[in-house]
Symmetry: C2
Subunit: 228 residues, 2 copies
DNA sequence: CCAAAAGTGTTACGATTACACCCATGT
DNA sequence: ACATGGGTGTAATCGTAACACTTTTGG
């Protein structure tokens, strides 16, 4: 019983070792025919002159998902955005001062409502082409961005998450272009249309997109509850 | 600048809110033609009279993967076992006393070397059929087991992780049976063999399994670095 | 009217499925 | 000897991939 008491105390001591838990969100947008990710520069703290993913510390009264939502809301002002857990990073030397483990998420936002608000402790905020990231990226955020991008590609392939990346209405060519740019593949126009139609995720608006040769039809993403 | 100082202090305060981080490992074995999961009963602590996944608290000098490895080693004595991250659980009311978030893993062990060691603070340790779990399972471990099982199924389907679940040599019928039991599907014998062979993951030992009618050939999992 | 992009169907191929008999071994 | 399980090939089907011309619109 003494042995067990000892074990228990060790357990309790371990429980109270200090470790912060944060979430980092890779916010993706599809702008000017490229997949972009949103990075910020902080006014203070470590990696001041580096670009970082928007992230924040989890508080006692929120889950990791709550925390990610909060961070996203504080930074972009958007709600009901599609976002997903990606991975947890728990390497010892992630943060220079203390032990910090982070759960990464990715989020998709529509390019049409980009009212980027510079929040507290933020010096700059900017979209970066996923293939042209800045040199100086803080912590292991380059790795996190890379992993989030892989995850996005996987989800796009398997689960058709694109409703949040395009404007409310879009042409099939625009959608195909998004697939080609994000997945870095070339698709056959006819096969692509066939596939998308038989997946039954689009509804035609009946209208044609003005200003484009050929007069392409505009479509809408079927899945009702999409953010505004 | 005063505003920023304030922000920074809030951030630091948030950093130091107390939250334990644990790992829980769903150890799977394939025994008597069923997928089993390893559960323990603790001698002390919450959920004493409940079954629990083996799990432990992450220490300051280890990553989550290290921690899972450690827990696994302490419980089974095995090393070089195949295991993978599954999911993180961060709901507020997971633990009755304090905030605890846990990263779950699943691990696969060979049935042939089951020297189950009862570690400290463990009253009982036992394999349970995945479809006949005990009534009383502590915390959210029933959910964690369920999610880990889904993950295992996915990996079995897509990445052929079975080398760790079967003895060193096995017949194709045994392998097919494993697939059928874990995935809960019925497979065609000829198509299954065709598929496995064209995947080129097995090598024949040239020997036949004694004691079985028909005299089936024994195979070995090709992937070199498999645990002992 | 011309250039540019939209829209449309069919064929070929590869992968998956369904299916039945003979052979080897243990009892 | 016989009952049990091991081992083998082929035809049908489905999904995927390749491919070229006509129509619509903007400039």
């Amino acid at each position: 019983m003494v042995e067990q008491e000892k074990l228990k105390r060790i357990q309790v001591d371990r429980n109270s070792f200090e470790c912060s838990i944060t979430t980092d969100v890779a916010v993706f947008g599809f702008i000017e025919n490229s997949l972009k990710v949103l990075l910020i520069k902080r006014l203070s703290g470590y990696f001041m002159n580096h670009w970082l993913l928007p992230g924040g510390v989890m508080e006692a009264d929120e889950t990791l998902d709550d925390c990610a939502k909060k961070v996203l809301y504080q930074l972009t002002g958007f709600r009901n955005i599609h976002f997903e857990q990606v991975k947890i990073y728990s390497e010892l030397e992630r943060h220079p001062l203390k032990r910090v483990i982070t759960q990464s998420f990715y989020a998709l936002v529509k390019p049409e409502n980009h009212s980027l608000v510079i929040g507290g402790n933020v010096e700059r905020i900017s979209w970066f082409d996923i293939d042209r990231l800045p040199e100086k990226i803080g912590y292991d955020h380059r790795q996190i961005i890379h992993d989030a991008n892989l995850n996005l590609q996987l989800n796009l392939r398997e689960r058709l998450i694109f409703g949040e990346l395009l404007p409310k209405t879009f042409t099939l060519a625009e959608l195909q272009n998004l697939y080609e740019r994000i997945l870095k593949i070339k698709l056959d126009k006819r096969n692509f249309r066939k596939k998308i139609f038989q997946m039954d995720v689009l509804t035609s608006t009946g209208e044609k997109k003005p200003g484009v040769k050929g007069g392409p039809l505009l479509y809408r993403y079927k899945n009702g509850n999409v953010c505004e």
